[in-house]
Assembly symmetry: C2
Homo-oligomer: 491 residues x 2
């Protein structure tokens, strides 16, 4: 409460309230992805942190810079085991890259500085700092300190660049450059496309990415599909995989009789640069090592602009409509789950945009991620393409969108089921579940009334049942400032 009271003394600090901690951590993730700077979350003791952990997990997998301040009891009250007493550090560790505790009022400045530096460590980290109440009321003095810079990005050894260049020369189109993290920006993606053009090398992105420059002219590569069979098929041609800001590609889940790694079993997988390296510099160095100039031609997928969809409303026509009508420079927060790959393909030829994805598989990020992205970039339109089951996890984010008048258009793909789980059941050879299993997979009866829910949170909303209607409502929402929700009621 002292921290809250102290906010009044820092009027430049923008305070954004979420009605649930998962909203807060998801929003901080969106802010960090779009600005590269950490937002601070304020969470309350172990349960408050616990409520935010799922989206911290996503943020950690996205390498988002973030500082979580978790209030705790006064140190000398902990032995009394008051009801809210919990082992906060134990809860924080699995979803944080750095965990610390303010030792007292006298060290608070040092401790906070350390947390911020940890959050800004190469590539971005989730830093969680426990703040015991006594540190906020014991006497202390503010001592101005010189600003400290975070650690510089790592540089990749020349020998590794030479090795990678040789592999590309030798393997040509049997070589894949797999991009992740900050390699998914215009500059490094163009360098990868130059290499692809000159040597026939494949270029792909990881299945889910924190932030990717996407759409027409971006040189964005296609992503590895989510499904294990599709991923294996897509990676089968490659004998060599060069990882640049990406991890070795693996199956999202393991299934009996299917592989762990989705690359060819005999492929050589080489880490050229981790996410903490300067990836644009790495790709430029690789291009130069291959004798290509920054003006050499790129391999470009010159398909025409995404066309308007026709036909009855379906997941396919929804993603195509959103891609076709996406405004220039939009930010897309994609949590469409079973439609995510289809949207990625459709949006490759959409107007240029940034694409933010579900990096850790912890569903319930879209509406919150959109909050943070919209706060980070008030001049850009945010589009949240959202699966219905997942949306329910942090649906309270709609209220923050209304409260802060954020420019977010949410399109809910309402299929009234955990569609991806039906796919997983099929993967396990149980495509036709019975009554009890269906109870766990269907979210019908009652159907969620998305317009009622959105309006209850203060967000304008409509429901559409045809592709044409969706196009009209989406275009109108894009043209209207402030938050809007459109439920695409799928058959």
């Amino acid at each position: 409460m002292h921290f809250v009271a102290a906010l009044d003394e820092q009027p430049r600090m923008r305070c954004v309230l979420g009605l649930f901690e998962g909203v807060v951590t998801g929003a901080a993730d969106g802010y960090g992805r779009m600005t590269g700077r950490p937002a601070a979350t304020l969470l309350h003791t172990g349960p408050g942190l616990a409520n935010g952990l799922a989206n911290l997990h996503n943020a950690r997998r996205a390498h988002t810079p973030m500082v979580n301040i978790v209030g705790d009891h006064a140190c000398d009250h902990l032995p009394y085991d008051a009801p809210l007493t919990t082992d906060i550090e134990a809860l924080a560790r699995p979803m944080s890259d750095w965990v610390g505790r303010v030792r007292g009022a006298l060290t608070i400045q040092t401790d906070v500085t350390e947390a911020i530096l940890a959050a800004r460590f190469v590539g971005g980290q989730v830093a969680t700092l426990v703040l015991p109440a006594n540190a906020t009321w014991d006497p202390a003095e503010y001592l101005p300190q010189p600003a400290q810079n975070p650690a510089p990005l790592q540089t990749v050894e020349d020998a590794i660049i030479t090795l990678a260049a040789n592999k590309i020369r030798e393997a040509g189109r049997r070589c894949l450059i797999l991009l992740g993290g900050s390699a998914l920006r215009a500059g490094p993606m163009a360098d990868a496309a130059r290499i692809a053009h000159a040597f026939g090398t494949g270029v792909m992105a990881e299945q889910a990415n924190a932030r990717m420059s996407h759409g027409r002219g971006s040189c964005a590569p296609v992503r590895i599909p989510y499904g294990v069979d599709a991923a294996v098929a897509q990676l089968a041609p490659y004998d060599v995989i060069l990882l640049i800001g990406a991890k070795a590609p693996v199956s999202f889940f393991k299934f009996p009789d299917k592989p762990h790694a989705v690359s060819h079993p005999e492929a050589s997988v080489i880490e050229v640069a981790g996410h903490g390296a300067d990836l644009p510099v790495t790709l430029a160095a690789l291009r130069e090592a291959l004798g290509l100039s920054a003006r050499s031609g790129v391999h470009r997928d010159d398909a025409p602009r995404t066309e308007m969809a026709t036909g009855a409303l379906s997941a396919r026509t929804v993603v195509q409509t959103v891609a076709a009508l996406l405004p220039e420079n939009a930010i897309v927060c994609d949590e469409s789950i079973s439609s995510s790959h289809a949207f990625g393909l459709a949006a490759r030829h959409a107007a240029p945009h940034d694409l933010l994805q579900l990096t850790g598989g912890a569903i319930g990020i879209g509406p919150s991620l959109s909050v943070g992205a919209a706060i980070a970039c008030p001049d850009r339109k945010v589009v949240n393409l959202q699966a219905d089951g997942s949306a329910m996890y942090t649906v309270q984010a709609l209220w923050t969108q209304a409260r802060e008048s954020l420019d977010v258009v949410t399109v809910v793909l309402s299929n009234r089921s955990y569609g991806s789980l039906y796919d997983e059941l099929t993967n396990l050879g149980r495509p036709d579940p019975g009554r009890n299993a269906r109870t766990m997979l269907d979210i019908t009866s009652p159907p969620l009334d998305w317009t009622g829910l959105a309006k209850g949170f203060g967000v304008a909303a409509s429901v559409v049942t045809s592709t044409d209607e969706l196009a009209r409502e989406f275009a109108r929402a894009i043209a209207t400032p402030g938050p809007t929700l459109i439920e695409a009621a799928l058959a």
Copy 2:
């Protein structure tokens, strides 16, 4: 997914879907509190568990029996660090009394049995069992095993009973019997009331209790107030405090210049019986040691039945109206936070009911706890007296209430702020926060439209702005089967 598919082979297993894990763990808590038997939750990997942790914290503090099954990757997939890979045990430990992992298909029966026995251990425990996917598909054979009984409740040594009896004889009205856990049922509370009647001894209950027989004729003692000053004042007369199923009373939070323990600094606090003891037997033994028969007179608060409230709608008239109109044998899930103490006092003279409270201070339990209580007791009316800020944490529980046609009446005390936090700020000497602090405390602009939200989840709803209107709507809701929500729009 194998677990889900297997549910079809156990049609007697009742499957209840929650749209968020916090709903599921809160519902299991309500079920366990009302039946004394563990419900099983099914959660998915670390993030799914994390989403349920806040209500596990409450359940652990309530000593509720519960088994959580947390699905994990196949063991041999963990080293590949797929996106959802997390340290599930580390997350589970702070909010579980017992944590285990199924070692494989061959041990699954033993491991599950162990988890259930742990959940049914004396007084009830939160048991969390991690289930790696491979254990569900590797070959195994079902071997019928003899049923195993949980450990018997502990018996309190005669010497302790004698010591406690002597203290009561010596200290008389300067002695307080503090009850918690299963001591808050009709039988043991009556025994405590007999002792109070004969010796002038005080009897109180802990500030928050898992389940308490309450209302007219129940001999329910008053609860220790939440506020530290009020608690200190209430406990000041007592030189001796005998704990029977209760913990030594401490301040919920520590404030500068206020004490940790709320008992008198020189009071002698004696644990007569922990929550794992047979508390009804303990109180009967204590009564007998004091020479009282099971038919001796009780100290009873013979105030008339709670009267109807009059005057403008306020938190006071809401709690009084609910208490006055509470039907016989209702179950009240009280998460009214800043009105909880007032409701407790008003409901002492209401029709007999069970009172379920927020035991761990992790807000966001009421709507979910009501789900579990209603499933446990389909013939009883459940009333959820609910603060608005807290309701938002697991608001998705309304959908499960609709889906399962549960007999739950939710009364939202809508003050559009985190009212208790304003109280805490005052405790810290900052009663008048500025703009930034108020941003963190008010949930106005936009106001939550509770009727819209409830209907969006499929629950009939209305808003009331006067005490008379509340009485009418509440009486109507009580008379109507199925879930209803009433927003009491406070000034």
